[in-house]
């Protein structure tokens, strides 16, 4: 059971007792691990390896401790902190519209790792790569260190005075103030803002989403009478038709959707069917059972045809439709077959498209089944027309004050010149953002917000699903919460923390009955992180009443196709999204799940198209005078070019500035909403060449049985379908000598390839957990990347319409590990629990083990990436990861590896050991799934299972006895502890 913690600084007597009582004597120290020590205190030799591992950990710990003091002075040692033990605090991740309920792991007062909060009804313990990486941003040296006035450091007092004065003047002269924020889905913040708006009665508040859903919001208002984004229930849909929506990767609430989607990808419990229409080869498209390529401008026509087929069948009514660019008959047939159990979604920001989608869903009876409104999604509320109006006003000098928080229109708005011009005409410009960006460059005052890990807040990402955000560290810099700033300027006397508590007391207390006092309610919610009361009856009925009364005329839909030959399709990359986290080296170095390129964006061109144009990988082309390198992407729709947004930042910090190309100017306003595609007539070859940092350059399995797959039909007939080789090998392979027995635990892992979506969350989780260095673009290009866990992606089938498979590969912890045999200095050997161990301080770096590893999962420290090298002055840290501050993110339980040693996945041995210690302390056996590796814990698809293979009752034992189980390269008889379950594709419905 995890310990759910309250905030650090509150020291009310007695409250600490709520936390699990801890024994503070030696019993609880890590030294207890050396229980093998003899009575007289002399260590037996077998303790050596333990000792070297832990002596490193201890020294890392000690060195970090001094640094921590800078941030959290232990004048009086806080009771809840035991050096060497982690504390977990429930909180919430919010960045723009990204939301996740999380547990923050802290060590000695430093947040070092984010885990998902399994208590959350939304994200259910899952996280995304962006969430995992967000902890690093806390320690970003490029964050604002304090308030700035015209670019020069100032102090809060004078800044506050000046801004208050000027606001007062504006108010007195009836000037106009505008506050721009991203969509705010925090009830208390909404209250703070309305307080602010009340105070400055002429002030206006605009919520601006860089990747806008305003088309959908408007359409929903018309179709459902509610201008909200509904609660999509992928776990209730047997058939999903997605029009370009990358809902497993970046669309709306990917963590939640991945959880729901993968819960329907278990071949033993029935599988859903996903049809994806799209232009780019997205993560979701790569997981689709059927993927149909389309140009974005064809979407309307395709939907009209679908609608026509459905209406014809459901209502017996004929409507006109243009000829369909692709064959939709199968899709409509399937949709009609699963009425009320299907879900049609579209990523388009075109109101007309969304109207059509809504009508289709309505006709199929999906509304109320897979599309719900009682707990609608609150993370996107921005309407593009508001922003458009604002910019017009600014340009006309109608604005006197502009306050921005956490939005970056100077980078993301389609008419950025207009916005920049406009800002210059505004009298008072204030930014409350925490990190530098292109917009902040333009403003007079910067009053930096805390990082979310330093902040108080509450969240209501979905209606009636509340969660709390709490600081887990004292502010590192001289920053102040945005809410405090607003309250200060509007003259309120309270600090936001108190406001929040009061707000919860008054607003939500009544929705629960468990706690009698509002304090107890708040404290307990804080521990759990979430508060999800029952939804009032009145809410559930409201939509159904009025949907049928809304008229719809398909004839009015404009289905004009684009006349341009080529359409550029902008998308959010898995790692960077709209680019908010551009200064995060972990995310920059995360290979894109599909293209496997990191540190860049690029123009994805379909293979046929590339051949026609004579383009090769790495050729630089010019699209409307934006120069981009070409990446030939199998599965890219012919005639489309996919480019990721969020790159080419110019003011976000040393890591993000100048990586990739800024393509936001390619977005445009169409029918009042932003369109994320645009037709172009000409692709200009520049003749220049570019080389990518790509971690996988060969994309075919070469006919090798690496990822084994079968259709659901075949699987249901024979559970070993597609896995016949495994049967053959287990029957024939025998050992030349007595196989080693593992008497106590035998740790193992199972990876379900049917569930894995390839989202790469585990890669970052592993990086964060295990102190894996960032090596920078140049080094990745030299094939020196360090990730312990990688996701192999192979294409099968034709190049133009490939099927995609993902296979997470980490150290396989082979019982007969070829790497162990060849290490000359015994630096890698096998533990009695089946782990392939790596002793860093014994390693001399011959790389023999890596050569002899058939899986190539070992990583070598080619340079001094971590400051732990033996020679000074040779550090290669292109991303500033070794600055004193950034090093606070290091996990003290994991050795920082020095130059010249091999490293690799350890099955998170530090976690295993700590669970063992705990179980020993409590005199009990380890429970199944109690030990979780970083990857298994974080997987939003629940594709990774970790456990003790010796425990017959464990989940892992169940999985390895399944007919789908096989080992990678089992013909080598390495006998890995990592097992894969065959990928079952749904070829049934």
């Amino acid at each position: 059971m995890k310990k759910y913690w309250r905030e650090i600084n509150s020291k009310k007597g007695g409250q600490e007792d709520l936390q699990v009582a801890k024994v503070r004597d030696g019993d609880n120290s890590i030294f207890n691990l050396f229980s093998g020590m003899k009575k007289d205190g002399s260590a037996s030799r077998r303790d050596f390896l333990k000792l070297c591992g832990y002596s490193f950990a201890i020294s890392a710990l000690a060195s970090c401790e001094t640094k921590v003091r800078k941030a959290v002075p232990y004048v009086i040692a806080p009771l809840e902190i035991t050096p060497g033990e982690a504390n977990y605090y429930a909180s919430s991740f919010v960045n723009g519209s990204d939301y996740c309920s999380i547990m923050v792991k802290t060590r000695e007062g430093r947040p070092i790792k984010i885990e998902g909060n399994s208590g959350s009804g939304i994200t259910m313990g899952g996280t995304s790569a962006r969430v995992q990486a967000s902890v690093l941003e806390l320690y970003d040296t490029n964050r604002y260190h304090g308030p700035l006035k015209n670019g020069t450091p100032s102090d809060w007092k004078s800044v506050d005075e000046e801004i208050s004065d000027r606001l007062k003047i504006i108010m007195e002269t009836n000037g106009k103030i505008i506050l721009i924020t991203p969509t705010i889905f925090s009830p208390s913040t909404e209250a703070v803002i309305s307080g602010f708006l009340e105070k400055f009665s002429d002030a206006e508040w605009i919520q601006y989403d860089a990747v806008s859903f305003s088309g959908m919001l408007e359409a929903n208002k018309l179709s459902f009478g509610k201008q909200v984004i509904p609660d999509y229930r992928f776990d209730k849909a047997d058939l999903i038709v997605s029009m370009g929506a990358d809902f497993l990767g970046s669309w709306l609430s990917p963590v939640e959707y991945t959880k729901q989607f993968s819960s329907k990808r278990d071949p033993d419990k029935g599988m859903n069917y996903l049809i994806q229409f799209e232009s780019n080869q997205s993560l979701t498209g790569s997981n689709a059972d059927k993927r149909i390529q389309m140009k974005p401008s064809h979407e309307t026509a395709i939907l009209l045809n679908l609608y026509k087929d459905i209406i014809a069948s459901v209502e017996n009514r004929e409507i006109d439709a243009p000829p369909s660019p692709v064959d939709v008959s199968e899709t409509s047939k399937k949709l009609l077959a699963s009425q009320g159990k299907s879900l049609v979604i579209s990523a388009s920001n075109d109101k007309q498209v969304q109207l059509l989608v809504n009508e289709i869903n309505k006709s199929l009876g999906n509304v109320g089944q897979t599309i719900l409104f009682e707990s609608y999604l609150r993370v996107r509320k921005g309407l593009d027309e508001n922003m458009e109006r604002l910019v017009r006003k600014m340009k006309n000098s109608e604005l006197d004050g502009l306050i921005v928080w956490n939005v970056n229109p100077a980078y993301t708005w389609y008419d950025r010149e207009g916005f920049i011009d406009g800002v210059k005409k505004v009298g008072l410009t204030v930014s409350l953002s925490c990190v530098p960006d292109e917009t902040n460059r333009l403003v007079q005052y910067i009053c930096p917000d805390h990082h979310y890990l330093e902040s108080w807040n509450d969240v209501e990402a979905k209606r009636f699903k509340y969660s709390l955000m709490q600081p887990v560290i004292n502010p590192i810099y001289n920053t102040r919460q945005m809410q405090d700033s607003l309250m200060k300027w509007s003259g309120g006397g309270v600090v936001f923390h108190d406001f929040l508590k009061g707000f919860w007391g008054s607003s939500f207390m009544s929705q629960q009955t468990d706690y009698l006092t509002s304090d107890a309610f708040f404290e307990n919610t804080l521990q759990k992180g979430v508060f999800e009361p029952a939804i009032p009856k009145t809410e559930t009925e409201s939509v159904k009443e009025n949907i049928d009364s809304i008229p719809f005329d398909a004839g009015k839909i404009n289905h004009q196709k684009s006349q341009c030959k080529v359409e550029v399709v902008l998308y959010e990359s898995i790692a960077l999204g709209e680019g908010r986290q551009g200064n995060n080296p972990w995310l920059q170095e995360l290979p894109d799940p599909v293209t496997k390129i990191c540190w860049d964006n690029y123009a994805c061109v379909s293979p046929v198209h590339a051949k026609e144009l004579g383009l090769e990988d790495g050729d630089i082309i010019s699209l409307r005078s934006i120069e981009l390198p070409v990446h030939i992407q199998p599965g890219q729709a012919y005639g489309t070019i996919g480019v990721a947004l969020g790159y080419g930042r110019s003011n976000c910090g040393m890591v993000g500035d100048g990586t990739g190309v800024d393509v936001w100017p390619m977005s445009s306003l169409k029918d009042g909403n932003i369109a994320y595609y645009s037709g172009i007539d000409d692709i200009v070859k520049t003749g220049k060449k570019y080389s990518f940092a790509q971690t996988q350059t060969h994309h075919s399995m070469e006919g090798r049985a690496l990822v084994r797959e079968a259709g659901l039909k075949e699987y249901e007939k024979d559970p070993v379908a597609g896995n016949e080789l495994h049967v053959h090998f287990t029957e024939t392979a025998r050992s030349l000598y007595k196989p080693r027995e593992y008497l106590h635990h035998h740790w193992g892992m199972a990876i379900d390839l049917s569930k894995c979506t390839g989202c790469a969350n585990c890669v970052i989780a592993c990086q964060a957990e295990n102190n894996i260095p960032v090596v920078g673009k140049k080094e990745v290009a030299r094939v020196h990347e360090m990730h312990w866990m990688r996701i192999d992606r192979y294409y099968t089938g034709s190049e133009d319409d490939p099927e995609v498979v993902f296979q997470p590969v980490l150290c396989q912890h082979c019982n007969n590990a070829p790497c162990e045999n060849v290490c000359p200095v015994a630096a890698t050997n096998h533990s009695s629990e089946g782990l392939n161990q790596m002793v860093y301080n014994r390693c001399i770096g011959t790389r023999y083990c890596n050569n002899n590893c058939p899986y190539k999962v070992r990583r070598f420290n080619w340079f001094n990436y971590t400051e732990a090298g033996t020679i000074s002055g040779n550090l290669r840290d292109s991303a500033g990861m070794t600055s004193d501050l950034r090093r606070l993110v290091l996990n003290p339980d994991v050795t920082v590896r020095s130059q010249g040693v091999i490293e690799k996945c350890s099955f998170c041995i530090q976690r295993i050991q700590s669970v063992k210690l705990k179980a020993k302390e409590e005199r009990r056996a380890i429970r199944d799934t109690e030990v979780q590796t970083a990857c298994s814990q974080t997987c939003p698809a629940n594709a990774i299972t970790f456990g003790d293979m010796n425990d017959a009752e464990s989940e892992i034992s169940r999985l390895i006895n399944s007919g789908r189980r096989y080992n990678l390269l089992e013909e080598l008889y390495t006998k890995p502890a990592v097992n894969y379950l065959t990928k079952i594709r749904n070829n049934k419905s």
Binding site: R45, Y737, R740, C814, N816, A817, E820, N821, C823, H830
Partner: protein, 169 residues
Amino acid sequence: MENINYISVSFDDEIPLLEAVGKLKESNEKILDVLTPFPVHGLDRALSMKRSRIPLIGFIFGAFGAIVGFGFQTWVFTINYPLVFGGKPFFSAPSFIPITFECTVLFAALGMVSAMLIKSKLKPDSKFIPFDENITNDKFIILISAEDVESARNRIKLTLSGINIIAIK
């Protein structure tokens, strides 16, 4: 050699030398030593030299090396610090063979060479004065023990008459 009376007979080729040795042996002269610039084929037989026991020393050292090599590895892997490598048994004998072999050769080689140097009393000696500087060039010398140098010289001259001698001293 200072205490022993001897006669030296020198030659400029090994054929008369061998002949002379044969004759001297026949006439029961006591040959102290024969000094040659290169190993003369058949000289050891002519001098009825006993075959050196260096091969035996080599064998003993080699056997010792083999036991040490194999034994040490076995001790380390099974008793002193057993570790699991690649699922192989602790006593992974085939793996021990290469090092055992190398130890055998190393011990045998060093043993034999040391034995040779010790037995021949060859050692670094900056004060060494050779018997004749041309022995290492083109001169062959027989040293014969003689109680009475003068009479022996004549006797030997007689014995070796007809053989191409450079000098008798």
